[in-house]
């Protein structure tokens, strides 16, 4: 994977790279260890400082980072016995949404996630993680399968949004998303959703009607892209930075608004710097969240989810 470095993360990314090289040296020669410890300390400090002050649009850029772990990168690291399931049984297979069965800490679960591609060829296959109706109908099939067989559902959200195209409209993109929301709402099994990168509007929410929603530290979740919002408000997509700040789409904002239940801290410099470490952190959060739902049974899970979403919103009564 070619390393992509965003301008604002360069100082940290370069230090992380030095740490990596020094670590390799220290592995064969212990004399490098004090220097390694010093450099690691410095790197962590700088990263903490720099990343504490990131603007909303910079976090958006991190959430879309080309090196960020995607759903399959987590699947590989979090689960065993992965069996992918394909197709919506109606029209086509949509590779922008992946689904399957897997073991999580020995427990069988249904996994569904948006899937972006790396490189042009895979991105074309994955449609840049933008599903057609078939992707949502595959998800619905798997939500219903999980419900029938009593399997918890773990979803991974990472999409710019549902694809806006002619075929997508012809085949009922709206209906597919609405029906996915319904299938999630009525599933009588635990559902935990994690926003791992971009949470783009209704196309993201179709994987997001969960009992608990986690968000990675530099992931975002928004009703509209900052670019789209700026284009509508000011007819000027270049004011996306202002729109990003207004829309309150970063992890701390989402936590404060009650839209997510917990933030999963990312490795130094962001999840893209260390996929293994990011996966370990998510594993821990996901397992404790899933087991926290163990006391709830069938209809209680549906009720719990209902109350969670029923309470979201701000109005004067």
């Amino acid at each position: 994977m070619a390393a992509v470095i965003l301008p604002f993360e360069r100082p940290v990314a370069e230090l992380i790279d030095k740490v990596r090289k020094l670590r390799a040296l220290a592995a064969s020669d212990p004399r490098f260890e004090p220097e390694l410890a010093r450099l690691e300390e410095k790197t962590n400090r700088l990263a903490r400082e720099l990343f504490a002050d990131l603007s909303a649009i910079q976090k958006v850029q991190l959430s879309r980072h080309a090196n960020r772990p995607y759903t399959l990168d987590y699947v590989k690291r979090l689960f065993t016995d992965w069996v992918e399931l394909k197709g919506d049984r109606r029209y086509a297979e949509d590779a922008a949404v992946i689904g399957g069965l897997a073991k999580f800490h020995g427990r069988s679960v249904v996994v569904i996630g948006h899937q972006k591609g790396r490189g042009t060829k895979e991105n074309l296959k994955r449609n840049f993680g933008m599903p057609h109706p078939e992707g949502y109908r595959k998800a619905i099939r798997l939500y219903e399968m999980a419900d029938r067989f009593g399997l918890p559902i773990l979803t991974f959200i990472d999409t710019p949004g549902a694809y806006p195209g002619i075929g997508a409209e012809e085949r009922g993109q709206s209906e597919a998303i609405g029906a996915a929301l319904g299938a999630m709402a009525r599933a009588s099994v635990p559902i935990v959703a994690t926003i791992i990168g971009e949470g783009g509007s209704g196309g993201a929410l179709a994987l997001g009607v969960a009992n608990r929603v986690l968000v990675m530290e530099f992931a975002c979740y928004s009703v509209i892209t900052p670019e789209g919002c700026a284009a509508i408000l000011w007819k000027d997509g270049s004011r996306a930075d202002e729109a990003a700040a207004q829309l309150k789409i970063t992890a701390p904002d989402l936590l404060q608004l009650g839209v997510v239940d917990a933030i999963v801290e990312e490795p130094t410099g962001g999840a893209h710097q260390d996929h293994d470490d990011a996966a370990v952190r998510l594993d821990r959060a996901l397992w404790s969240t899933l087991t926290s739902l163990d006391e709830l049974r069938d209809e209680e899970l549906v009720e719990d989810r209902y109350r969670r979403f029923r309470a979201l919103g701000a109005y004067l009564a």
Partner: protein, 285 residues
């Protein structure tokens, strides 16, 4: 006390004052000059070409409900400003301006009414209020519509017309989609009918939540209905969209709605539908 904005009562671009002859309007469909009072009496349907012009919330009540009577539910809910959103003008100011323009407090009204004698839970979007956009109040009211209709064992008839989620309430407006559909799922468990009417235009978060989940979906003639707006699609695929794309007739052809009904036949048709669906429930009980 809300004072009318300057020019708040100005007429549509198509309206023309003609001295000594009352108000005339040009039809958006055929361009004919029509008597405004006659057009209003025909629920904004052109007698020449059948073009459906925008109908007010009050007009919809008169068209759909016996005696035009709605006993409103939860009309007191008012929008907050959870993000303190400002695009140069604050969200609160935008809301006040929308209230003045539309004469409604929010973008949907709900309540109990009757269709051909049958009590129903009724909801209608007010497109003039910020494009019928769905924020927290709209989401809350639609959730309450399904909840209360469920408790009172009423069928629901919901008339949508919305540009989608309300940007100024950010992610909370997205969450309303999940809230409304979850409430609809509970309502469906009671085996009560939901008739969804898709008016012009119904797009974005309203289309992609409950609007297509009716037991029966009905569209207005030529209504624009879809997930993504045509301009967004054009910018994405970089080609011109085919004639009639995302219009009601296109949706009928693609199996997404059961019927396209003109306003002249809408109430009668829905009354007949509700009669059929209730007959099954009566026999089972």
């Amino acid at each position: 006390m809300v004072w009318p904005e300057k020019n708040a009562l100005s007429l549509d671009a198509s309206e023309k004052q003609s001295i000594g002859a009352g108000v005339f309007r040009l039809c958006d469909g055929c361009g004919q000059t029509l008597d405004a009072a006659a057009l209003a009496a025909a629920f904004e349907v052109c007698p020449e070409c059948g073009q459906h012009h925008r109908l007010s919330a009050e007009g919809w009540r008169r068209l759909m409900l016996d005696g035009g009577e709605l006993s409103a539910w939860d009309a007191h809910l008012m929008p907050g400003d959870p993000l303190r959103f400002s695009d140069g003008k604050g969200y609160k100011d935008r809301v006040r301006a929308a209230q003045r323009k539309s004469g409604s407090d929010e973008a949907v009204e709900i309540g109990r009414g009757r269709i051909a004698g049958r009590a129903i839970g009724y909801g209608a979007f007010v497109f003039d209020f910020m494009g019928g956009s769905m924020g927290s109040v709209v989401g809350e009211k639609i959730a309450r519509l399904f909840e209360r209709a469920g408790e009172e064992e009423l069928p629901v008839v919901l008339l949508s017309a919305s540009g989608g989620a309300r940007m100024q309430e950010g992610i909370l407006s997205l969450m309303q989609m999940a809230k409304c559909v979850a409430a609809l799922e509970r309502f469906r468990k009671k085996r009560l009918p939901f008739v969804s009417v898709l008016r012009h235009p119904t797009t974005g978060g309203v289309a992609a939540s409950f609007a297509f989940l009716g037991d029966v979906n009905i569209a207005e003639p030529k209504a624009l209905i879809g997930f993504a707006g045509p301009r967004v699609i054009e910018n994405t695929i970089r080609q011109t969209l085919p004639q009639g794309f995302q219009r009601a007739e296109f949706l009928l052809d693609h199996g997404m709605v059961d019927a396209i009904l003109s306003r002249r036949e809408m109430k009668e048709h829905i009354a007949a539908l509700l009669g059929h669906l209730a007959d099954g429930a009566r026999r089972r009980a």
